[in-house]
Subunit: 343 residues, 4 copies
């Protein structure tokens, strides 16, 4: 587990922020599928900073190099490995990071788990950089799902105190951008909420108990750094209302059976109902802020103040939108591939 996800299709991620490369191997892509690399590149681009904003400061997306799994751009059934080179691998001074853990980062917990040998440079394997590898795998799964008529789209519900109405925008609205800019100027940061919808998923996908679609999506989604909550359909709001308001009435619509409302978020008993899968994900504010914070020296075992230098993204929510789509795509495609009898 840990860096791997899935049973019927399986992605295995590797790399650190400052290792020579990060990458992913996808085990189980069906043979004979022509990958659309332009579409993949466009999807990767959405993860880069400065997208959707009226700005000239855009950064081109990482270009993955495929090492295996293809013959002339078509999957051949072998594991597909793609790597992305890390450009910033200077052996600069990481002494402070090594000694003084940043609050609400994994610096301290990784130290306890792996000891002094852990890679602290840029957060090591805990870096948001790892989601680039997730997006390669997810971007390919999105194409595979598209062939099955399944579409996954995410939008931003909330950033800090600013909320939007449905349909939620894929890029932050002006109000949201303003809030982010304000936080940046204060040396501070913001979190937010992303809602994801998957349409076209046939009924009958998923399994009872621990193999439910909710369980699988959660496992995938909590693999994205900074995620602190997930809810399906009505989610926490269902706790506020009565069964008669929360239950979704069935009705016949032509050949299909549908529900009049979708408070269940497309999943009942862990199994898809054929209605859209809908879930929301909460992101905490970026823990890297410019303001002075209180921390400790691990070497001297004493309290010390910490000022994090360098540029930091004051809100990762906009860039997390494709990451959530990617994680959802992997989880849903894995469930779709599962033999019906499997429990």
């Amino acid at each position: 587990m840990s860096f791997s996800y899935g049973k019927n299709i399986r992605l295995s991620i590797f790399g650190q922020s400052h290792s020579p490369a990060i990458g992913v191997t996808i085990y189980g892509p069906p043979a004979g599928f022509p990958i659309d690399f332009d579409a993949l590149q466009a999807f990767m681009q959405r993860r880069m900073p400065g997208q959707g904003a009226h700005t000239t400061k855009r950064k081109e997306a990482d270009i993955p190099e495929v090492l295996s799994g293809l013959v002339d751009g078509v999957t051949c059934g072998s594991p597909l490995t793609a790597v992305i080179r890390n450009t910033d691998v200077r052996s600069s001074d990481y002494q402070q990071l090594w000694d003084v853990p940043r609050p609400s980062h994994a610096d301290y917990t990784s130290y306890i788990k792996y000891g002094a040998a852990r890679d602290v440079r840029g957060g090591g394997s805990f870096s948001g950089r790892m989601t680039a590898a997730l997006c390669v795998a997810g971007g390919i799964c999105l194409q595979l799902l598209q062939r099955e008529g399944i579409k996954i789209t995410a939008g931003i519900v909330q950033i800090g105190g600013v909320t939007e109405e449905a349909p939620f925008p894929a890029y932050p609205s002006k109000k949201m951008l303003a809030a982010i800019e304000e936080a940046r100027q204060d040396g501070d940061s913001l979190g937010g909420v992303i809602e994801t919808t998957a349409t076209g998923v046939p009924a009958g996908i998923g399994s009872p108990m621990f193999g439910g679609v909710e369980n699988r999506l959660s496992t995938a989604i909590f693999g994205i750094p900074a995620v602190k909550g997930i809810e399906f359909g009505n989610g926490f709001a269902a706790a506020d209302i009565r069964g008669s308001d929360n239950n979704d009435a069935f009705y016949v619509d032509g050949d299909a059976i549908k529900t009049k409302t979708n408070n269940h978020g497309g999943i009942l008993g862990g199994i898809t109902s054929g209605m859209p899968i809908v879930f929301r994900v909460a992101f905490k504010p970026t823990p890297s802020i410019s303001k002075e914070q209180q921390s400790v020296s691990l070497l001297q075992q004493k309290d010390v103040p910490l000022v994090i230098t360098g540029r930091h993204d004051p809100c990762i929510v906009p860039r997390a939108v494709p990451c959530v789509e990617a994680a959802a795509a992997v989880a849903i495609y894995d469930a779709v591939l599962e033999p019906k009898s499997q429990i």
Copy 2:
């Protein structure tokens, strides 16, 4: 997956609501542990209806029969299987259930997945009855965790519109009971929110990305019927505030490193920080209500009204408290057993 959970200790659940028995096999309990069956029975009792209320109508808990894994009440290293006989296995008339799916139950989705052969009696394997098997495994894990100095307790934050203040009660308060009673009289039902705290978990447990403690707890918790959301620490509320408010400052406390606040809920980068693990779980209102509802006939493929007869629990949240503790105990013990190097 599906009916199984865990890697270092593994529980495998089986049974249906009306099969001869339900049960669980626990793979990997350490040898030489004397199980306290009185404590286990008391724990199982908390799952029964009517607990904590001023009522004479109490039902004794199911008593599990251990088929294997013990010698004179002490674990021997072999898989431990416990079964609970189902007393209500009459072949009564389930024709309606078979044909007309109850809204927001798994009747329809299980039909699509397993076809006409599925067991509809009492919900089959989707019944809340299955949590009795989970509680056997969880109750034993709670005892194993206790030996490691780890304690898990859950309390009720909210039932319907009624909320309580921390420390959250293990049994519903009078206000909560009144709300449940009111819903019952209306032929309706309520959901709620449960908060769980695990103390004594050492720092350094869990793994990055998909192997994080959040991922593992989610997978276990969504195995409980009616769960629709989970959040850790500040959870969704973290989306509302700034990083400077959400970050948890480190400080030295004697030999230990702690955080002044616990907005991270004891988990950073998927790995425990040594602070209490805190998470909240949202339960939807019981989908079985007495009010007439809209559904469909699967055989005739047409809309039909549905009235669910029989007695139903208008709020399963009180009985879910030990179930959440059980699922958390299995997930946390599984993580605790994991070798440090494992990723």
Copy 3:
């Protein structure tokens, strides 16, 4: 792992020789399959002593009780659990067994692994008794395979120094029985070799490298106590001959592609070729013999002589024939269920 096998269908075994019961849960049987319990019982009967011999001393097979997974004898998609009660669970004197490990049994190694708490009674979970649970699962998989046109049969190639010619008999020949009887009278025991053939397996089943049919069959077969070797097709004999003699020429036979010889045993690159799967399994002689042997006292850490009392099967090979078929059935059915794309 350990007591569990399989990915697409999964059996999980539990129990000890002298625990209240042994049993098995099968996860993933397709819904809607009517199990033929008479056929299952007849299959179980083949595992009992005294079969096929001209003897009046027959013992009726254990009758499994199905606790879950069925509705009116038909699989419903839920996990199928079957238990067999152990009749001999007296708390007799096992002090000697506890202290003095029997040579070539698991008494010593289980002591090192599980410590003093291990169950030594009758060999605990290392007992040949556990294969009864394997045969329940395997017997059901044989029926499921039969529906797919796949048949698995095993025969005895060799017992001690006595070999037979193909087609190998399912029950020991007179010569073999005589050799067994001779060993019994000498207070000694014999091993042997079993050959298994699976016909009707379509080409294209299995996966490369560690997911090959040879890997999977080995994992399942070494789960049977006393197995010490396995070979596919020509096996070890292939080491003696040249490629031109060992290679299997392809030819067209109507719509099918076949090979003129089957030295590859139906598996190339881990994937089935459509030719019969053929493999041989070596069993060591039963380690329980009446002759005095040299062992040690674990408590006193000194050499002591050991005389094993009671009746023992001087050759388990005849009873192992259905066990090998059962293990093969589970492994092959698991591979058959695997989605094609899966690697």
Copy 4:
């Protein structure tokens, strides 16, 4: 599964013979271990052709590039990925290979499994080339095992009709080389047998039934192309003798308990006894031979003769010696890392 192996340490292999690169990711290497790259390179060198022979025609081993998992040559706890570039990736004419499967190769079975999109160039993922990736992972595990005092060495027992006496040579003897040379001149090939011994493995490693060390080693070893059999300790020879000859008497040797003979090959009930683990592996003759063979045209569905051109290794057994050590190292290290209680 398939391209992945292990539970406590896990290797995931990728690549094809003619893809840009092959490689392996090792999940779970303990942090803080300095890899000896000179030793790794020397180990890799043993897999190259022409080793140990009195020849000037040596080829330098592939040099793996480590993409992740290290900081200054020391493991940091993150997954370790190493890739080896393929130099021969010309898009030469593979039309014949694509249409006419080579006897006893995976050309035909991979076609049935993956269809026309499969990679036939050089055997794709079924190529012996993939064992270079296995050797990277195994070479690192050998170093990790060495730290635990565990040593694994393999030797050649037999090549074609030529056998050697123990201690078996790591490189083919003159007699063996002569037999190989004779087969080469005849346009033919030879197989053989390799024996492996692991010393220093503590007692108590491994698990019952399907989790035994024999099961795990088999799964790993059958991942090497051309393996058709495996036996532990006395193996198939145990079928010939009586229990009194095959049983291994225990005795006390200082603080240790040992057995006077080692017919059990260091494993009893799936668990190590502390005696050396000993097993033998049978390799079939290289299926690529120069002699004309009978095959079929998949496109025209008719019999056609086949002449395989190019240079082929007439016996891969010498080069397989480090591969067997590598597979054994991964399997044994995975078992060593397993928590004691785990079953």
